[in-house]
């Protein structure tokens, strides 16, 4: 199967669980399982080539100018991780089906899970590091959704936020590191970068790049000092923890270090940073895990510790270290996923995860006890289980590693970590399953059905198989190791063996297991000492850091952004004037290329009226209705001005927008007092006047400047004029720009328009459902109202004119491509035609005759425009390429058919929907309780009176 499809399947499949949600829990989980299975099988079809040592690559150019290409590669390492992600994913899906209760929205859960799975597979298969970053961020986002899946739990939300903040910060740092790396090598393709070890390590920017990339890897893989988010992410449902913290999310950082190993490793900086952080994490995690009481917390800290172990191995920079690291990744994924799932079973059956309330479960839950005991023994490093093998290799590697010229430092710390690791593993078994049976479990524990214990049991079988017969996986592990090493180092000649002979690693291992037993026996004493020792609490520090950032941000932003519009406007105006002035005094001014036109008396009169209306607005603005009327003059005179300057399109748009705006503002004014009160001091107003006058003069100066010369040598308008008919098939350049040259912009704009209208609808709807509703319903007008809600004259007039207006709208739409007009203006005309009916015949009369909701009209418009754009893909053209042809149907003249017209129809529908939805939302607010909805369109209707008289 193509690599594209393997990555795309989980993303495409993420649509399915939501759709299947209504079909039942089995169908929902079944379809998710099938999606993952398809991707998994697709991955396996590539196994032969991977085993043969080939690297499978596919790629298409995405944004080649930025170096961002959609290139994927599958080598041993990528296959290994993708295998873990998809394989363990399958088990998790099967487990989650039985774990989630009926109250949980399963479709939502599996959608997030598949999104996450796709993002993870994307990371491990990416060849382009920029693409890898995209998937990296996607895992942060989707894991945020998964960790916070139980939205009703505050711990869940806080844990999700913390994970997002930490891993997101790391991701940001990594972007910087990757960009530096790409700059050094001159390519963003991993396959190229991995060939340039010497170039990268000799570059002065190597250390910054290394630091930034490691920051990303360490935050993701919870390495000290960023380990604290992982335990808090345990508030997630157990399947999420099992998936994220055994095989996927936290392994992404490890994967990255392994991927970059050939070019970044082997330097002293790498060794100190990576091995150092790994050692600290390993010991710290293991020690804390011993003293935690929550089963999942123990496992969380043990995960931290094991991730430290793998990091430490990668840090050594030797081939054997990488070999051991790869093997331990495999082993850790198997036993840790099994452990998490078993912990989930215990939580599910006993309703507690507190280890102090458990004990004696071996009699009550024998199956779970066996599974969890084997997995935990593997984690402890007991022989004949897979954990033992990789732990031995780790200890052996540690004896070869000398840090800070002290031969015993690394082995001692490694043994200490292994000792505590054995300790908490034994405690997990002893305190959960052994000891006397209790009678105070929160729920009666018993073994669950196969659905819950099957997946961990499968993993435990693997744990034992690998532990007993490591040669089965040895070749595979070596292939993976070879792709980690690249061309940098020779594959080690070691074999994975159970018995190495009497080597130091064996004694260290024995010491660790023996010490672990002693730790469990002494646990109650140690716990008392631990509880009495003061320790820094990560969450408190994190919260304090975040809140200090928040207050810093507030102190910067609030002075600028205090909620007063006049302040924003003043700041923006002063900034723009300042920037403009700076540009003016530092720039070079070209000679004027055009002479000013002579001003005719009529034009001067129009100008004088505009100025007068503006002054009027400034002085009369406290009376809100008068201010609106003044704005009406400005709008009208500007429309005439557009005509004067030969821009009939603009004039029509301006005028129709003006009409709609006035209706909208009048609807809003209904809820406001007639006069706006004086709230500012004289000094404020003088200051604002200065800013306003300066801004006005600035705008005037700029207009004057550009009216006399072109900004660039050949203005863009010349291109548009030359290509409008030739390329777009229309003679109206304005319309061709809107639907063709800048069609993508227009498409974005109608979407924004639609979103704005929907937001207005949502806001007014919220108002109507809130406490304001009562006040709105019982509003009494501040002055007496004239009688006659729906005068007959107006009803008759608007009905007569309606078809005429619609016809004009149709006409304006049809001619748009060649002469002034188009979908936007036509949409406004149609809206005004409909609004007239609302105004004349009343809200309830008009809305009861509404066949399609306005939301749907907006959606249809956007969809139509989008489909027109997509249509050009089918003829192998880029999105929104237009085509046109000429048709002649006798006896009419020949006319033109363009795909742009369908796009324009989409614009029309979106405009009608958005305008009408906005107006309707506002007018819904105005319904009061005491005016009853009119049934009839006219208050006085002679025909109705006649008929009632007849009836009487």
């Amino acid at each position: 199967m193509s690599l594209f499809l393997i990555v795309a399947l989980p993303f495409l499949g993420a649509l399915l669980p939501g759709l299947m949600n209504q079909a039942g829990r089995d169908a929902c989980s079944g379809v998710t399982f099938m999606v993952s299975l398809a991707a998994f099988i697709g991955l396996l079809t590539n196994l032969p080539s991977v085993l043969a040592g080939e690297v499978v690559t596919v790629g298409i150019d995405w944004m080649p100018l930025l170096g961002l290409n959609f290139t994927l590669m599958l080598d041993g390492l990528g296959f290994f991780f993708a295998f873990l992600i998809l394989g363990i994913g399958l088990l998790i899906i099967a487990y989650a089906r039985h774990y989630l209760s009926r109250d949980d929205n399963m479709g939502e859960f599996f959608t997030y899970l598949l999104l996450f799975q796709g993002a993870m597979v994307g990371i491990v298969l990416s060849d382009n590091i920029l693409l890898l970053l995209v998937f990296w961020e996607l895992t942060s986002l989707s894991s945020f959704l998964l960790i916070g899946y139980w939205k009703h739990l505050p711990e869940g939300r806080q844990g999700a936020r913390m994970a997002l903040a930490v891993t997101g910060m790391g991701g940001l740092a990594m972007i910087g590191g990757m960009l530096i790396l790409g700059q050094i090598v001159g390519s963003y393709e991993l396959s190229v970068i991995l060939q340039h070890r010497d170039l990268i390590q000799a570059d002065p920017l190597y250390v910054p790049a290394l630091l930034l990339i490691l920051l990303g890897a360490f935050t993701k893989s919870a390495q000290f000092p960023f380990h604290f988010w992982l335990p808090h992410a345990m508030a997630a449902p157990t399947p999420v923890s099992a998936y994220l913290h055994s095989a996927t999310m936290v392994k992404a950082g490890i994967f990255l270090m392994a991927r970059m190993w050939p070019v970044l490793s082997g330097t002293p900086e790498w060794f100190v940073l990576v091995t150092g952080a790994g050692l600290i994490t390993m010991v710290l995690g293991a020690v804390i895990a011993l003293f935690k009481h929550d089963l999942k917390s123990v496992l969380a800290f043990s995960t931290v510790s094991h991730l430290g172990l793998i990091t430490m191995l990668l840090g050594t920079g030797t081939a054997f270290g990488a070999f051991a690291a790869v093997f331990h990744i495999l082993n850790h994924a198997t036993f840790k996923a099994a452990l998490f799932m078993s912990a989930g079973i215990i939580d599910h059956e006993t309703h507690t995860r507190d280890i102090r309330r458990l004990g004696g479960l071996r009699h009550l839950m024998p199956i779970t006890a066996v599974i969890m005991t084997i997995a935990a023994l593997s984690m402890a490093g007991v022989p004949l289980l897979n954990g033992f093998l990789s732990k031995e290799m780790m200890l052996e590697e540690s004896t070869q590693t000398v840090m800070f010229n002290t031969w015993w430092l690394v082995p001692a710390l490694a043994t200490l970590a292994a000792l505590f690791s054995a300790g908490y593993s034994f405690r997990l078994i002893a305190h959960t399953f052994f000891g006397p049976k209790r009678d105070d479990y929160p729920a009666a524990p018993h073994d669950p059905g196969f659905g819950l214990w099957g997946p961990p049991a499968f993993l435990v079988v693997l744990v034992v198989t690998i532990g007993v017969a490591p040669f089965l996986v040895e070749d595979f592990v070596k292939i993976v190791t070879a792709s980690v090493l690249g061309t940098t180092a020779e594959l080690p000649h070691a074999y994975i063996k159970i018995w190495h002979g009497l080597v130091p690693a064996l004694y260290m291992s024995l010491a660790a297991v023996g010490g672990g037993v002693i730790l469990v026996i002494m646990h109650s004493v140690l716990q008392k000492i631990w509880d009495a020792t003061p320790r820094p609490e990560a969450k408190v520090i994190f919260d304090a850091t975040i809140s200090s950032f928040v207050s810093l941000a507030r102190s910067l932003i609030l002075p600028l952004h205090n909620g007063a519009f006049s302040r924003y406007a003043a700041i923006a105006a002063v900034t723009i004037i300042g920037a403009g002035y700076f540009a003016w005094i530092t720039g070079v001014q070209g000679a004027a290329t055009r002479a000013p036109q002579a001003a005719t008396p009529v034009a001067l009169a129009g100008w004088a009226m505009l100025v007068a209306a503006t002054f009027g607005l400034v002085f009369l603005h406290r009376n809100r209705l008068l201010a609106l009327i003044m704005m009406g003059i400005v709008g009208l005179m500007v429309s005439v001005g557009f005509v004067y300057f030969s821009a009939p399109d603009l004039a029509m748009t301006q005028f129709t927008v003006e009409a709609v705006t006035i209706i909208l503002l009048l609807l809003a004014l209904n809820f406001m007092p007639n006069r706006s009160p004086v709230e500012s001091t004289v000094l404020h107003r003088v200051r604002d006047a200065f800013v306003a006058v300066a801004g006005g003069f600035g705008a005037m100066a700029m207009a004057w400047h550009y009216l006399l010369r072109d900004a660039v040598a050949t203005p863009i308008s010349e291109f548009h004029l030359a290509n409008s008919y030739k390329g777009g098939g229309g003679t109206n350049v304005v319309n061709v720009i809107l639907v063709d040259f800048r069609g993508f912009d227009t498409y974005g704009e109608i979407i924004v328009l639609g979103i704005a209208a929907l937001l207005i609808y949502a806001l007014t709807e919220t108002l109507l459902n809130g406490p304001v509703r009562a006040r709105l319903l019982n509003r009494v007008p501040d002055q007496p109202r004239a009688g006659g809600m729906h005068p007959m004259m107006m009803v008759v007039l608007t009905r007569v004119i309606m078809p005429v207006v619609l016809m004009v709208g149709f006409y304006i739409f049809m001619r748009g491509h060649n002469e002034p007009g188009g979908g936007f203006i036509a949409g406004l005309i149609v809206s005004i035609a409909v609004v007239m009916q609302y105004m004349a015949s009343g809200f309830s009369w008009a809305s009861s005759r509404l066949r399609y909701p306005y939301h749907g009209v907006i959606g249809a418009g956007v969809l139509l425009a989008g489909l027109t754009g997509i249509g050009s893909w089918f003829v192998n053209k880029p999105f929104l390429t237009t085509d046109f042809t000429y048709v002649r149907i006798p006896p009419f003249e020949k006319f033109e058919l363009a795909t742009a017209a369908i796009f324009d129809l989409g614009v029309l529908l979106a405009v009608v929907g958005a305008v009408m939805l906005t107006l309707e939302s506002f007018s819904r607010l105005a319904r009061t309780a005491h005016t009853k909805d009119s049934v009839h369109p006219m208050d006085i209707d002679p025909s109705r009176q006649a008929s009632t008289e007849e009836g009487a």
Binding site: V602, S639, I832, M839, S923
Partner: protein
């Protein structure tokens, strides 16, 4: 230049001046009021005069291009006037 063209030019210039003056006078009425009704009526008269200006411009420049803007203003200009009037009378323009 023929006599007819000259006459046409004279007529157009006169019309321009007359419409412009009436536009300005409407605006004066709009400013002095005194009632809101007067102001709304003045705005409506300004809309009518604006149609006149647009049509005259089209004739002056010898183009049919400005016919549709004039048509739109004529057809829809009354809507805002009605909206103002309804606002003054009823407060709520869609009820």
């Amino acid at each position: 230049m023929s006599a007819a063209t000259e006459l046409m030019n004279f007529a157009l210039i006169t019309a321009f001046i007359v419409v412009a003056i009436s536009q300005m006078l409407s605006m004066v009425r709009l400013f002095i009021g005194p009632t809101t009704g007067d102001r709304i009526l003045a705005l409506d008269t300004m809309v009518v005069n604006a149609i006149g200006l647009i049509v005259l411009l089209g004739m002056w420049q010898g183009t049919r291009m400005y016919f549709e803007p004039a048509l739109l203003v004529a057809m829809l200009g009354f809507v805002s006037t009605v909206a103002y009037a309804r606002f003054v009378l009823r407060g709520d323009i869609i009820e």
